[in-house]
């Protein structure tokens, strides 16, 4: 019965789509909360290898994983593909592809060049458009193709070294994503996080990896806790809290040169660093004057300015994209809720009201949303509150969720959660429809921070 009902809603949505596109979007979203898979089908055809022997790399595999992980797309299995064309001119019949219900198909070729370099060429094709204009295109195949090629949405070619294969695959994913959504892709980004394995001599590790967990690098190993990594806006440096001297201190570290610098060592808490959007200031939590309050340090002069002054806990500052205000967590109203302070007037306003508590607020890159750790009935979940409507939605169903960090294009949230008794990282799309767990090794992984665009 429920399935039938859902089917009817889909039909209704399809009808609505023909009359009013904007309305159809929201109607479709209602269907999806019923449990439907909304991701748009597309085909990433395995790239043709034009050299001898085995293909040096499976680009399609990375692109498929990227696009699926975005929550927006559902790449079809290669078993369901009628053929494996390497370029648009090899697509014999667009209608066969169009009938698969796919929105687009990506085809590509890899050919060997001298000196361990490879030419990678790819095209993103709209098979429906190809079906319509296909006859024309074929008729003109002997002569002028150029004008009738509008079914090819994107087409690019590059020379790539083997050590750049993975990066280039992410680049292709970015191009496909942007071409089909109009929004910049965030597949060429990184995450910083804390890895903890208490069985090791130095249990606490500060790590950086690609956004998908590959190319992991250790930036720092310590016998004492490491916390709160945060990126500089240029993506070159990470600030974090280290207890290596028996107490919390804030450090900055260049992720390429390993050069590190101690920023603060005040009595009490030195915590929760957050780089300003212009990269010149660092918001932080200090308790040097009593209770934990929000401060901003001018990084060049090391001058510190107190922003909040309350006898209860203030913590977790996060900059709004315009750099003119901070959201932060405060207990001033009783339980922890998210507040916003205007940096000019120092005026503080409460922002969150849903549930028992809302902590760890992160403003989305467009400034139109606030992602928080929402506590309700003792459960901690990631939630999103829209600005200015105030609409609130719980996005996750995992347990003990914390430390949300938003992708620079605002599409996804990475956060820390508990699975099988261990802390692991998880992804959820901004609308909550797509959820995934990031695989972890032996230890525990926490405190993820998504890098800016690199």
């Amino acid at each position: 019965m429920k399935r039938l009902l859902t089917g009817l809603i889909v039909v209704f949505a399809a009808l609505a789509f023909t009359s009013n596109t904007a309305q159809a979007q929201s109607t479709l979203e209602i269907v999806i909360t019923e449990g439907q898979d909304s991701a748009r089908p597309l085909a990433v055809v395995p790239f043709q290898w034009l050299g001898e022997g085995e293909a040096p790399y499976d680009f399609a595999e990375i692109i498929v994983a990227d696009l699926r992980r975005s929550g927006r797309f559902n790449p079809i299995s290669s078993r369901d593909m009628p053929s494996f064309p390497g370029k648009d001119t090899e697509v014999a019949d667009y209608s066969v592809w169009a009938r698969l219900g796919i929105e687009a198909m990506l085809v590509g070729e890899v050919s060997p060049l001298s000196g361990d370099r490879y030419q990678v060429t790819y095209e993103l094709i709209d098979p429906l458009r190809g079906q319509i204009t296909g006859g024309t295109a074929q008729a003109l195949a002997d002569g002028q193709l150029v004008d009738s090629n509008d079914h090819v949405i994107e087409g690019r070619s590059s020379v790539v070294n083997p050590n750049q294969f993975r990066q280039y695959a992410h680049r292709i994913s970015d191009v496909v994503y942007e071409a089909l959504t109009g929004e910049r892709g965030a597949f060429l980004t990184r995450i910083a996080y804390i890895y903890v394995d208490l069985d090791l001599e130095n249990p606490y590790h500060l790590m950086v990896s690609d956004y998908d967990g590959y190319n992991e690098r250790v930036l720092l190993r310590s016998p004492q806790p490491l916390m709160s990594p945060t990126w500089s806006p240029d993506g070159n440096r990470v600030a974090y809290v280290s207890f290596e001297n028996g107490r919390p201190e804030i450090f900055m570290q260049d992720i390429y040169t390993t050069q590190r610098e101690k920023l603060t060592s005040f009595p009490g808490i030195n915590g929760s660093p957050a780089w300003s959007p212009d990269g010149e200031r660092m918001a932080m939590v200090l308790s040097k004057d009593g209770a934990p309050n929000i401060y901003i340090m001018d990084i060049a002069s090391r001058r510190v300015e107190q922003i909040t002054d309350h006898w209860r806990i203030d913590t977790e500052p996060y900059w709004t994209p315009d750099g003119k205000s901070l959201v932060f967590t405060s207990e001033r109203g009783g339980r922890a809720q998210t507040y916003r302070v205007d940096l000019d007037t120092k005026r503080v306003r409460r922002v969150t009201f849903v549930g028992e508590a809302n902590l760890g607020g992160v403003v989305t890159p467009d400034g139109r949303g606030l992602v928080v750790v929402n506590r309700d009935n003792g459960q901690f979940h990631i939630g999103r509150q829209d600005y200015p409507s105030g609409n609130f939605q719980v996005l996750t169903e995992t347990s003990l969720d914390e430390s949300p960090s938003v992708a620079p294009n605002g599409s996804m949230i990475i956060y820390s959660t508990t699975y099988n008794g261990k802390q692991v990282l998880a992804l959820v799309s901004m609308d909550g429809r797509f959820r995934a767990r990031l695989p972890s090794r032996d230890g525990e992984v926490k405190g993820p921070a998504w890098s800016p665009f690199l």
Partner: protein, 182 residues
């Protein structure tokens, strides 16, 4: 310091050395080797390096000595626990903290680090603040018992150094704690 069980002159020097080591140990590690307690300076079975054995009769302990003995025993325990999301000192830990305060008051040169810890619930940053509140509450309690501010430093580790692993109340209740580290 009473060395009443010792008769051999040579041994006085040896024990004086032992005592000073014990004093050092008291400053740096744990309060077990209490220099003012009457228990120090005797060896368990009365055996001496020269092979002779001494014996002693049981002495009646004064109420003060009994208290000291009990405090020394209590001080073996250096951890107090908290309820969820609070920094209130539970009454069951009053005597434990009194025992540590008593020791610190009688040894003003001894310092203690009070670590504040939390369970894993709530955000790590919030828990750093909560851990500090627990450490501060414990420190304030000790100061009210006469311990000097200069003897106490506090540090919060939040949820970063759990004592017990596990995602249940049993583990959480063990992790919501303040630890006195000498």
């Amino acid at each position: 310091m009473q060395l009443k069980t010792v008769q051999l002159n040579k041994l006085v020097k040896a024990l004086a050395l032992t005592v000073s080591i014990a004093t050092l140990a008291a400053c740096s590690s744990s309060p077990d080797s209490d220099v003012d307690s009457s228990t120090t300076g005797t060896t368990g079975d009365g055996r001496t390096p020269s092979g002779v054995q001494t014996g002693a009769a049981d002495r009646q302990l004064s109420p003060e000595e009994q208290r000291q003995e009990r405090y020394a025993e209590l001080r073996q325990d250096q951890v107090i626990y908290f309820d969820f999301d609070t920094s209130d000192i539970r009454s069951e830990f009053a005597e434990l903290l009194a025992a540590h305060a008593d020791y610190l008051v009688r040894n003003p040169s001894v310092t203690v680090v009070i670590e504040g810890h939390t369970d894993e619930r709530g955000t790590p940053e919030y828990n750093i603040a909560l851990g500090e509140r627990r450490a501060n509450a414990t420190a304030a309690y000790m100061r009210n018992l006469g311990v000097l501010s200069s003897q106490i430093t506090t540090v919060s580790f939040g949820e970063e150094k759990p004592l017990a692993r596990g995602n249940n109340e049993r583990a959480w209740s063990q992790n919501r704690r303040a630890v006195l580290v000498y």
